[in-house]
């Protein structure tokens, strides 16, 4: 079984804020192959694998790299790279400068940018994109990574004791049966999918209050510039200085409705008062923004799960990257409000499944050819 698909193997997901790229680095190249390998293919491989940062904004998530993966008869490593969508034109220019088009590979792309930048790829770099649906890619990518695992460990994890902040621990888990699941993809915006089998799913709803909203509001409120900066501030802040809690209004629990005093009654509710606005820290504002967006996603996800009668809620998307505040909060929200009926699950390669799905399509398409 010999694959005719030529290297390089890429899968790309061009989102509203970030471009996600997966790259397969073959580790089983024979001497013969090496001889035949054209120079710019070699240089691309060297460039991608020997660096962990590209330009000012490109990053390779080394910790996510999958080793010794055998796929379509080839063995190698899968690399995970991301850069801002704002740098897309520079990326296309690089493709032109490196004569990418001469490699005669198909560039599989998903995400909205596959449509938005299609013409730019063609005119600037003489490259044709194979456009793929982002939700199809997301699901196929997720199922694939879950099946191969994370270098011998499970890809999936959850939180034990989610309602107990002291004893809330991240634990890996293997899912024998994934379906049905509610898949919540939190990128710039949020999509919620009910997935019944590997090819049967529907988009239940979506919300515009997503990762882009968190970062956008943080930039406006605190003057920060990056997601990392925003999360760093949020980790140090206290949202109860910003939000009005039930106890701020009722002096304690609102017993008539079984609401705890510590529940948020009004996000940013304290900010109606000028004195409080004048005394607030940026960290508190960042934290409140994070908590507001996260709780809201949790609330919508929970309602959809109940409406669709699904007990497993899987959260993915780059909003969750390095964001334990949100993952723990989501785990808590699912558990607490459903009285233990719902379980929140997370995946290590949170934001890359679309790109993986596109990558798998590349292999499939050349298979068919």
């Amino acid at each position: 079984y010999i694959l005719k698909c030529t290297f390089p193997w890429f899968g790309m997901d061009i989102g509203g804020t970030l471009v996600k790229l997966v790259y397969f680095e073959p580790k089983d190249i024979t001497a013969e192959e090496e001889l035949e390998e054209v120079e710019n293919l070699k240089s691309i491989r060297r460039y991608l694998t020997s660096n962990t940062a590209y330009g000012k904004t490109g990053v390779r998530d080394v910790h996510l790299e999958l080793h010794n993966l055998t796929i379509c008869g080839r063995t190698g490593n899968l690399h995970f790279i991301r850069f801002p969508t704002a740098a897309m034109h520079r990326f296309i220019q690089m493709g032109r400068d490196k004569h990418f088009s001469s490699l005669h590979t198909t560039l599989c792309a998903t995400g909205g940018g596959a449509y938005k930048f299609e013409n730019d790829f063609r005119t600037m770099a003489d490259l044709e994109l194979l456009k793929l649906d982002e939700l199809d890619c997301l699901i196929q990518g997720l199922l694939y990574i879950d099946s191969v695992g994370f270098n011998g460990h499970p890809e999936c994890y959850y939180f034990e004791n989610p309602s107990d902040t002291q004893n809330c621990i991240k634990s890996p888990c293997c899912l024998d049966n994934l379906f049905p699941m509610l898949l919540v993809n939190i990128g710039s915006g949020v999509s919620l999918l009910a997935v019944y089998t590997k090819d049967n799913y529907k988009r239940v709803t979506g919300t515009s209050l997503g990762g882009g909203t968190f970062l956008g509001l943080c930039c406006l409120l605190t003057g920060c510039e990056t997601f990392e900066e925003a999360l760093e501030m949020a980790s140090k802040g206290d949202s109860t200085n910003v939000d009005k809690l039930v106890k701020d209004i009722y002096g304690g629990d609102y017993q008539r409705f079984g609401l705890q005093g510590s529940a948020v009654a009004s996000s940013f509710g304290h900010m109606m008062s000028k004195e409080k606005r004048d005394s607030i820290s940026k960290e508190d504002l960042a934290r409140a923004t994070l908590v507001t967006i996260t709780n809201n996603i949790g609330s919508i996800a929970r309602m959809c799960a109940v409406n669709e009668k699904i007990e497993r809620v899987v959260f993915v998307g780059n909003f969750l990257r390095i964001n334990t505040v949100s993952t723990k909060l989501l785990a808590y929200a699912m558990d607490f409000w459903s009285k233990g009926q719902l379980r929140a699950l997370f995946l290590e390669h949170e934001g890359y499944f679309g790109a993986v799905g596109a990558f798998l399509e590349l292999l499939k398409s050349s298979d068919d050819a």
Partner: protein
């Protein structure tokens, strides 16, 4: 989450220099008892109960027993009219800004006479803040009530008692407010209260409700986050900013990601993919307006989405929105409506309430008044004493208003109706029944005409009002006040046709009656009615005799013609009142000649005659119209024939006076007198084959969904299978399209050339509509 609108607005300074207009605000304080107060973030709502003493015209039969024969009573009036004082119950609700609370409390203290009142029920987040002030000023103990319980109680009350309480908001439609006719069963419904947070409450019965969910992203988030982003402090100003902004500069749209629509999912390019998404990726300054708009969309969409998820989960389609975020703000009503439409694809409509701001105060009041059982009665909005929707524009800055020296307040007054009102059991579908034929809120041309028409008629009404109380010199002054009040109402309605729900000819007539009552003109037509009744009675036997001599076919036609001719005698119609006033000799026979020749404008006479050849009806319910010639020479000969055929007859007349319509008490006397002359009527009365019931209304029109409970019982018990509705007010302006589950006859003479023109006929055109429900829908 719950929390109905508690927010620091900064303390407004109390402006004591403002004096209150005592004739207009806090009326009837001398009789006031049972106070309740709802203090929100910026507005205070005060509620109290009073008894209103006002004059009513009573009729009383003279004692004729001493007289030997009927002839001897010639020249004496048939009955005596006396004006009596009557006491009715009224609920007052007043809304004003928190800044005036001290002024208002002082005013109440100075005017409050009743010393029995010991407590004041209080609700709302501001109640604790002003507790000491209230207790000190009024010497009343403040008794706190749960906010949500009050809110729901108030909501149930307005939904049950105010027919056009709920509306759909459509910004770009001909009329922004589309009022809903209240479903007879108001439960179950969802109330989404958007205060600083959001509470989602499912209401299943009067005292059965549950908070099924909520969200912390609410009005407080818009206000707090908006203030941080735009440095704008006031909620109203933030909304103003938002209404000027472009959210697409701040939000990341689907087309910003895709370059166009996401076709396979049906997501259009203009859809917001990520709120504030552009401020995360672009390094530029954003305008306050744009950010405020983006924030407004974000919050409205989010609330709408949650509301839909809860509505779907609990299988509810009636979703009402309230709270300070909504309260009369067109901007937020629009964004919430948009969001609900988007998420439910039109399956659920966002509903808003005219008296949303009063719900807490009404509920708190009802909690305190439980021993009076206010829920056992039916209540009606008093158009004379209520300000109407948007009387105070929420967009107006209160500081500006204070500078202009006015004291802005809004009022709602509700009168306790003496009778409990229910649906006519014979409505084919009570849920879709709409009494009014034309909605003047939507029909601008008709609105213009009728407003003009009522304004033109005003002088005549004033003259008549004065004439009805010749013995009271101050009547002139009162009549003038009436003129001013009603003219002001008409002017308000010209600019805000939606002020009291759907504007209709009925509501214009009712408003006039309310205003007349307000100035103690309970029955301006009492003397005219008396005179006309006297005159018509003299001809009764003659008319009956002349009809009896005719062949069956001729007789039937003559009776119908008589009915129609009688209906020409209507002082409420402008064309006729002109004739009657200039030529009192205008007679019954002449009226018959004035009628349109057959075929009439609507002519189902042949079908009616065919039906009469068949078996008699079991029981006919007849909604009568005018007194005098109409009832005596038109209706009585007609029902006499029905009685002879073996049909029982129920005559339904007004409970209270309206124009020259015959009232129930007048009809009692008239019937007695006719019975004394006519053995057929006498026997029918004695054998209870002829019954007189009141309809529960004091309107020249007829709302079949608000009828006296007794009437409904009688209709059911007697197996009524024919309903006759007579007159322009009851059969044309209202009920023209009403579908009944039994046979019905709607007849009227069009005594208004504009209306005749509109219906495609001429003045004095005849409508004779006979309808038989299709078998499948009929009740058997």
């Amino acid at each position: 989450m719950a929390l109905c609108g508690v927010a620091d607005t900064g303390s407004h300074s109390m402006d004591k220099s403002i004096t209150l207009p005592p004739d207009e605000i806090f009326r009837n304080l001398e009789n006031a008892k049972r106070f309740a107060i709802d203090i929100g973030g910026s507005l205070t709502k005060l509620a109290y109960y009073s008894t209103v003493q006002h004059k009513v015209a009573k009729v009383r039969s003279f004692d004729h027993s001493a007289k030997v024969s009927l002839q001897e009573t010639d020249g004496d009036p048939l009955y005596e009219i006396s004006v009596q004082e009557e006491i009715t119950a009224r609920l007052h609700f007043i809304k004003f800004e928190n800044a005036y609370i001290e002024t208002c409390l002082d005013f109440i203290k100075d005017h409050l006479v009743n010393t029995e009142t010991k407590v004041i029920k209080a609700t709302g987040g501001g109640a604790h803040k002003f507790k000491d002030l209230i207790e000190k000023k009024l010497k009343l103990k403040v008794d706190k009530e749960d906010e949500m319980t009050c809110l729901i109680k108030g909501c149930n009350f307005v939904l049950k008692n105010i027919p056009h309480e709920a509306f759909v908001y459509a910004k770009h439609a001909d009329s922004e407010f589309r009022f809903q006719h209240t479903h007879p069963d108001i439960f179950p419904y969802l109330l989404i209260n958007i205060g600083s947070g959001v509470s989602i409450v499912k209401v299943e019965a009067e005292d059965k409700f549950e908070r099924i969910g909520g969200s912390s992203i609410g009005g407080g988030t818009f206000w707090g986050l908006g203030a941080l982003l735009t440095k704008t402090k006031r909620f109203d100003e933030l909304l103003q900013l938002a209404s000027k902004g472009q959210h697409t500069n701040v939000d990341m749209l689907v087309k910003d990601i895709y370059g166009g629509a996401y076709g396979s999912l049906g997501l259009t390019g203009d859809l917001i993919a990520s709120s504030f998404g552009k401020s995360a990726t672009t390094d530029k300054e954003f305008s306050k307006e744009d950010m405020a708009k983006s924030l407004l969309h974000m919050i409205s969409n989010d609330i709408g989405q949650l509301a839909c998820l809860y509505a779907k989960l609990h299988n509810l389609t009636r979703v009402y929105f309230g709270g300070f975020f909504i309260r009369g703000h067109p901007v937020t009503m629009h964004t919430i409506t948009y969001s609900i439409n988007f998420f439910t694809k039109g399956e659920v409509q966002a509903l808003f309430l005219r008296h949303e701001g009063y719900l807490g105060a009404i509920g708190a009041f009802l909690k305190g008044a439980e021993e009076d059982n206010p829920n056992q009665y039916s209540w009606g909005e008093n158009y004379a004493g209520s300000s109407g929707l948007m009387s105070v524009s929420p967009e107006l800055n209160p500081i500006q208003r204070a500078r202009s020296g006015t004291f802005p307040f809004d009022m709602l007054e509700m009168d306790r109706l003496e009778r409990q009102l229910v649906n006519l059991p014979l409505l084919q579908d009570a849920t879709s029944y709409i009494p009014d034929t034309v909605d003047l809120t939507e029909d601008a041309l008709a609105r213009e005409y009728w407003l003009y028409c009522f304004e033109e008629a005003l002088d005549g009404v004033v003259k008549r009002a004065i004439a009805s109380q010749k013995d009271q010199p101050e009547a002139v002054e009162r009549a003038e006040k009436f003129r001013q009040k009603y003219r002001h109402k008409l002017q308000t309605l010209r600019h805000q046709p939606f002020a009291y729900g759907s504007l209709t000819v009925r509501s214009l007539l009712d408003t006039r009656e309310h205003c007349l009552n307000e100035f103690n003109f309970p029955d301006p037509y009492s003397k005219i009615k008396q005179k006309e009744n006297d005159m018509a009675l003299k001809y009764y036997l003659k008319v009956v005799k002349s009809v009896e001599e005719l062949s069956w076919e001729q007789r039937q036609f003559n009776l119908v013609k008589g009915l129609l001719a009688g209906n020409v005698f209507d002082w409420g119609a402008k064309a006729v009142s002109d004739v009657l006033e200039s030529d009192p000799e205008f007679g019954f026979e002449q009226a018959k000649q004035q009628l349109q020749e057959r075929p009439w404008l609507v002519d189902a006479y042949n079908q009616w005659i065919e039906r009469l050849k068949g078996p008699p009806h079991k029981c006919a319910l007849f909604f009568v119209d005018n007194s005098g010639i109409d009832i005596i020479l038109g209706v009585f000969p007609f029902i006499r024939e029905l009685l002879i055929r073996g049909t029982e007859v129920v005559l339904a007349s007004n409970s209270g006076p309206a124009l020259n319509d015959v009232t129930n008490s007048e009809l009692q006397i008239l019937t007695e007198r006719i019975a004394a002359m006519d053995p057929v009527i006498h026997a029918a009365l004695k054998e209870d084959r002829l019954a007189l019931v009141q309809n529960g209304s004091s309107s020249p029109c007829l709302d079949l969904s608000r009828l006296d409970k007794v009437l409904a019982t009688v209709v059911r018990e007697r197996g009524t299978d024919l309903v006759i509705i007579e007159g322009m007010g009851r059969a044309i302006h209202t009920n023209y399209y009403a579908m009944l589950s039994c046979e019905s006859l709607k007849l009227a003479v069009i005594k208004n050339s504009w209306l005749a023109d509109r219906l495609g006929g001429k003045i004095f055109s005849v409508v004779f509509k006979y309808e038989v429900p299709s078998k499948a829908q009929g009740q058997h």
